[in-house]
């Protein structure tokens, strides 16, 4: 019975992980940019929800609606004004650029919010749901469902909307897309905006479950990276599978080896995947 509970915990965690990784994977896949800022965007989204709840009583699920346009705008502007300038440069430069931006953002967050850990505690608490012997807190369950809904929304944007189809086209063949009249620079900016939006929108969900601090970004970034490699790069279903797998592996790993080895375990998994199945579990280079 313990195993069922651990499995359920892992899947709940995995749903959130999928949401963290989907935007990161999109940016990496389309722009070939590793966005080191991704983790700090998640934390910033968490702070947005925290302060909206503490100061104005806005429920974290509602602050997602504020986070979506705000983070899309930040991401769009950042790509438009800075990253587009060196998008064709070697990998090292784009990586270093986003790293520098991340140092600035996390330093700014320390100044603005102090380095204390904060967690949003709903008042009154939502209680728990029991499925047989498996007990799940309702806030976690709801957060997971919302995370999956957000990930599904990204999937729909990419597969149904005009801009989404253009993003996919640019990923498949940039030159051909440009010849068909797609404005590649704008598509890049929109892609980065979507990535930032996913990060910012998953922040409010995470702050209900984990305490956040301005320096918590790299932990989320590491998870996003592992998930991308697990599931395959630049695909939403890949991020979903990768997220669920990582969530379950971490849950069982904590049970068997102790929680202090969670990072070692997931990074060992990462290195094994990189060496033996570099295209991820889904095993195709495709998109959507």
């Amino acid at each position: 019975m313990l195993y069922l509970q651990i499995l359920a915990n892992g899947l709940v965690l995995g749903g959130l992980y999928a949401c963290i990784a989907a935007g990161f994977s999109l940016v990496w896949g389309v722009l070939n940019v590793i966005n080191i800022l991704h983790g700090s965007f998640i934390v910033l989204g968490g702070y947005l929800a925290y302060f909206a709840y503490v100061n104005a009583g806005i429920h974290p699920f509602l602050s997602i609606l504020i986070a979506i346009p705000a983070f899309f705008a930040i991401g769009y502007a950042l790509q438009r004004l800075m990253i587009n300038r060196i998008i064709a440069a070697p990998v090292l430069l784009t990586l270093t650029l986003t790293f520098g931006l991340d140092l600035m953002l996390s330093n700014g967050m320390i100044l603005a919010f102090t380095a204390d850990f904060r967690k949003l505690v709903l008042e009154p608490p939502l209680g728990t749901l029991a499925f047989g012997a498996v007990v799940l807190p309702i806030d976690r369950l709801a957060a997971m469902l919302l995370a999956l809904a957000l990930t599904g929304m990204l999937y729909l944007i990419l597969s149904r909307s005009r801009i989404g189809r253009a993003i996919v086209a640019v990923r498949m063949d940039r030159e051909a897309a440009a010849l068909m009249g797609v404005d590649v620079k704008r598509i890049y900016a929109a892609t980065f905006g979507l990535g930032a939006m996913m990060a910012g929108a998953s922040g409010p969900l995470l702050v209900m479950i984990f305490p956040i601090s301005p320096l918590g970004g790299p932990a989320y970034l590491g998870k996003a990276f592992v998930i991308c490699v697990l599931g395959g790069l630049g695909s939403v279903p890949g991020a979903m599978i990768g997220g669920l797998v990582l969530g379950v592996v971490e849950s069982f790993g904590s049970l068997w080896f102790g929680p202090e080895h969670a990072i070692t375990l997931s990074f060992s998994l990462l290195i094994l995947m990189l060496l033996f199945r570099p295209h991820g579990l889904l095993g195709r280079k495709g998109y959507e």
């Binding site: 990496w28 070939n32 590793i34 800075m82 300038r85 060196i86 440069a89 070697p90 990998v91 090292l92 430069l93 990586l95 270093t96 650029l97 790293f99 520098g100 931006l101 991340d102 140092l103 600035m104 953002l105 996390s106 330093n107 700014g108 100044l111 790299p218 590491g222 990276f225 490699v229 202090e260 080895h261 990072i263 070692t264 990074f267 060992s268 990462l270 290195i271 990189l274 060496l275 570099p278």
Partner: protein, 310 residues
């Protein structure tokens, strides 16, 4: 090569005179700049010459620091502990390189980045050997005075920097350096033309690890207290990269110049803007990448070319 060697001899002779200035603050800065120089020159072997974006500097540094510290804890003399740390970093780099250098681009970058995280977790968990999160105290070297101690570690780091520079110089003008530059330009073509790319890349990676490992051990003996987040700090990797970018990647003197400039800037920022110093460091990185992606040396070269037109 002769010109580079002469220039370096003059430079190092000047630096060796620094203790005459005597002040403890300058000795400390001198020791740090030499250490930064070792990190930057080391990264240059794999990142500058071969073009592999390695973030493994922090891993080698921490590994070296802990190897040296644990060796000293068991009573080995300082020099043996430092050499042991170099050897450990060398073996680790060779094994790691064989596995990771098959990856390219972002995959290699991130895989090398997480190595430091994994090592930190392992060191944290191995409390019996390393003290875990409590850190590790090293024996305080028995020396006549604090000044003598400062001078001793300055010259230790100086010797290591000179060694690293000699290795850079020899590599640059040897077959290995040529092979690494070929790999940077076009690995597949280099492979086809008979460059043993695996051997060359692993050699470059080993060179990028061994001196950093020793620098870590010297650092540990110097500050005689280390803890995992301190020596496995990812900023060591990032600083090494920024210093090389600042000075110009792949060149002989670039990393050294970058290290000196970087330390100067870092010290200014630390002193004047303590609360926002990481933010200012980030801003420096952003400005550098956006406006001077080929380093400050490219500026002088550019002005050099402009002169005849004027």
């Amino acid at each position: 090569m002769k010109r580079d060697a002469t220039g370096a001899a003059v430079l190092f002779a000047l630096v060796a005179l620094l203790p005459l200035a005597g002040e403890a603050y300058w000795m400390r800065l001198g020791t740090i700049v030499l250490m930064y120089g070792v990190l930057a020159m080391s990264w240059n072997f794999i990142g500058g010459m071969a073009g592999y974006p390695s973030f493994a500097v922090a891993a080698f540094f921490g590994l070296g620091a802990y190897t040296g510290a644990v060796a000293q804890k068991f009573g080995l003399p300082m020099g043996v502990a430092w050499a042991g740390a170099g050897l450990m970093a060398m073996i680790f780099a060779a094994l790691l390189g064989l596995a990771l250098l098959r990856l390219r681009g972002h995959y290699f970058a991130i895989a090398s980045l997480v190595v430091a995280e994994v090592l930190r977790e392992l060191v944290n968990a191995a409390t019996d050997l390393t003290g875990g999160g409590m850190g590790l105290n090293l024996p305080i070297p028995a020396m006549a005075s604090i000044d003598a101690q400062a001078r001793f570690f300055f010259y230790a780091m100086f010797g290591l920097a000179a060694l690293t520079f000699a290795a850079t110089l020899v590599t640059t003008y040897s077959k290995l350096g040529f092979g690494l530059r070929c790999i940077q330009q076009n690995e597949a073509a280099a492979d086809m033309l008979g460059v043993d790319t695996t051997f060359y890349k692993v050699s470059g990676f080993v060179l990028s690890g061994v001196f950093v490992g020793m620098a870590g051990a010297v650092y540990a003996s110097w500050v005689y207290y280390i803890e995992p987040p301190d020596v496995f700090d990812v900023l060591f990797s990032v600083k090494a990269i920024v210093m090389v970018l600042l000075g110009g990647a792949g060149s002989v003197f670039g990393p050294l110049i970058g290290a000196a400039l970087f330390l100067g800037l870092e010290e200014l920022v630390w002193r004047n803007y303590l609360e926002v110093h990481t933010g200012v460091l980030g801003l420096m990185i952003v400005v550098l990448v956006l406006f001077l992606p080929k380093g400050l040396l490219s500026l002088s070269r550019r002005f050099g070319r402009w002169r005849p037109l004027a």
